[in-house]
């Protein structure tokens, strides 16, 4: 039991949006994962996936009361902190990026971050599940004396190699917090919901702060950050065509750089 109390608890709300749109029932999956007891799966290894109704969590034939779960959460959860420490993505130069392009003294490199482990480290979330790919973009002005204007709203994304103009790149972090209001039905849900809201807000803030923003590039200057490109939540994705437009300061003629990945 003490080992159990020391266990870290991960609370995962699966497909909450779909559930919200559907019936009022909620499926909450609580994964009690005891790091210290991994060698003794008989002691602590609970995988719970049941319906929450009327504030009571049904576990097989047993009823775990709201109060006991509440106490459990309070006592056993000090180590549950959600995505507290999100790493900064190491800054890359264009030469370090997988895909590069150059035009008029402007050099652009892009690096899609699709590994789940990387997404967890840098964004605290599985962005594929949210239907996004974070694409790191670095733009360097290597011209002799020209300043360039990068306007994020001019970025275009198309699906399929060679696709022309498409939708704007997704500039928003993910809207998932509808989950919270639904969870707030029960007292346990309120606690979990508040914690989820806190963590989700932290994830969103991190996404916003890491996003590539519109900027003026002076000679020798650079801009870098992430663009969040839409992708299907399940299955493999089609090739993505990314088109970045840049203009010279005081000039209306756009310069475009295109990428397929």
């Amino acid at each position: 039991m003490p080992q159990f109390l020391a266990a870290s608890i991960n609370v995962v709300v699966e497909r909450a949006e779909q559930l919200l749109q559907g019936s009022a029932e909620m499926r909450i999956k609580l994964r009690f994962d005891c790091n210290s007891c991994r060698s003794r799966p008989d002691v602590v290894r609970l995988g719970l996936c049941r319906r929450v109704a009327g504030g009571v969590l049904m576990v097989g034939s047993k009823l775990v009361s709201v109060a006991s779960l509440f106490t459990l959460l309070l006592v056993a959860c000090p180590s549950y902190a959600g995505p507290t420490k999100l790493l900064d993505y190491p800054p890359r130069k264009v030469s370090d990026c997988a895909i590069k392009a150059e035009k008029s003294g402007l050099v652009v490199g892009i690096q899609p971050v699709e590994e789940l482990s990387d997404q967890k480290s840098y964004f605290g979330s599985d962005l594929k599940q949210k239907g996004l790919i974070p694409v790191y973009v670095v733009i360097e002005d290597r011209s002799e004396g020209d300043s360039f204007l990068f306007d994020k709203s001019a970025v275009r994304v198309g699906v399929g190699a060679g696709a022309g103009t498409g939708n704007n790149v997704s500039s928003k972090s993910v809207e998932t917090l509808q989950v919270v209001s639904a969870l707030a039905i029960s007292p346990v849900g309120m606690i979990i919901g508040a914690k989820l809201a806190k963590d989700e807000a932290q994830v969103q803030t991190n996404l916003v702060k890491k996003e590539l923003q519109s900027k003026t590039l002076s000679p020798g200057g650079s801009a870098s950050g992430f663009l969040y490109v839409s992708r299907p939540k399940v299955g493999t994705r089609d090739p993505i065509h990314l088109k970045i437009f840049v203009t010279r300061s005081g000039d209306d003629e756009p310069i475009s750089l295109e990428f397929d990945f």
């Binding site: 300043s147 204007l149 990068f150 306007d151 994020k152 500039s171 928003k172 972090s173 917090l177 919270v180 209001s181 508040a194 914690k195 809201a197 806190k198 989700e200 807000a201 932290q202 969103q204 803030t205 996404l207 916003v208 702060k209 996003e211 923003q213 519109s214 900027k215 003026t216 002076s218 203009t247 300061s249 005081g250 000039d251 209306d252």
Partner: protein, 191 residues
Amino acid sequence: MSKGHLSFLAPVLLLTAVLPGVFATARAQETSAVNKELDLKAAVVLDKDFCLTKMKKNHETFEVGKAACEIFKPELEREFSTLTTVGSVAEAAGAQAVFVPRFVDLSATKTLGAFSTRELTVLLEWTVKDSSGRTVWIQTVEGTGKNHMGNGFTYQNDLRQIIRYALGDLIHKSVAEMNASRELHKLEQKP
């Protein structure tokens, strides 16, 4: 004897409390003296839409436009030799540089406790056009503010305060970016 010790300690304590503040003020004055204001006849577009901007995020509404229009104007007036506030780009005829602000995004952390500190991040994009209407500078600036989450009674007031803190930070960073801009200093040479 103990009274004598106390009377000796009192001024020492007072000096300890006051001196860091004096030096901090001196440093702040020194910093602002180094910042050279831009010698531009500038106009800033604070139109009705901008001043009424409300941004919604995670069931919270942030009235950023109203606060921005109160905070930005005096700060920008200190930065430029001449600054006029206009309601649209068309009204800014004759200005060497027209500054158009636009809120891009906003994000706020949440806390479980009412007295825990949360952080608000506001992103604002500045677009600067020259007298011919061409864009010469574009910059996104991030402002952050920290304040208590607040409880049922203090939430609205705490929310207003954190918005003001974030926008105060944002305009200071904006002014610093404008000062450091090669492109805006180039505009000073143009009529």
